[in-house]
Amino acid sequence: VLKIDSARATPETLQAAIKNIVGEAPLRRGKVAIDVPPLVENGNTVPLTVSVESPMTAADHVKAIHVFNEKNPQPNVIGVKLSPRAGKAQFSTRIKLAAAQKVVAVAQLSDGSFWSADADVIVTIAACVEDLQ
C-alpha cells in the first residue's frame, strides 16, 4: 500500500534549500564530485562520497559541503563542516532515497564562492516513507 505524501520535497523545495545556504551568491558548477551508484536496488542505504578539488590550506579551503535531494520528504541530506585541519575535502556516508531522483552537493569555499555538482540515481526499492504493512 502506497501512502500519498503531500509533504514530499520537490524541485522547488530543493531550490529553496539550496538558496537557504547560498543566499544571493552565484552557484557555479565544477570543483565538486559526487560518487554515487547510478542504479541502486535498495534506497534504504545508498553509498555516497562527495569530494571537492581544494588544496585545503589556510588561504584556500572548503568550509562546508551540503548535500540535498529532490524527492525525499525533506530536501536536506547532510551538512559537513571542514577546515584546513581536514587535509582533504572529502567525506563518505550512506543515505536513504525515497525515489529515483537527483542528488545535489554544494561546497562553500573559504573565498566565499559556491560550487555544485549533481548526480541522478535510479532506485528500485524506495526508502524513508515505506510503511510497515
Partner: protein, 107 residues
Amino acid sequence: MTARALINVPAKARRGEVIEIKTLIAHPMESGFRVGLNGALIPRDIITSFVATHNGEEIFRADFSPAIAANPFVTFHTVATATGTIAFTWTGDNGFAQTEEAPITVE
C-alpha cells in the same frame, strides 16, 4: 543504553600525514515519515549531529537529516598533528548522546 560503535583510526601516523577515519554507530535513524502497523506515524528518532575532536580541537562536524541511513556511517580525513586522543560524539533525538575515543600515535 550504549549503542555499539565501530571506529577505525590508524594507530600510528607520520606528522602531517592525511589520515582517513571511519565511524559507524548502531542507530535506527527512524525518519518520522513511516506509518506503523497501527496506522500512526512512527515518531522521528535520529542522530542529528556528529562531531570529531583531536586533543579537544574540532576536526570534523556533520549535521544529519532523516535521509541518513540507519547505523550512520561516516568517513572523513584529518591531518595527523599530535599524539593523543581522537574523540567522536553523536547527539540526537530523545536525549541521545554518546562519545567514543580512539588513541593515535604521531611520530
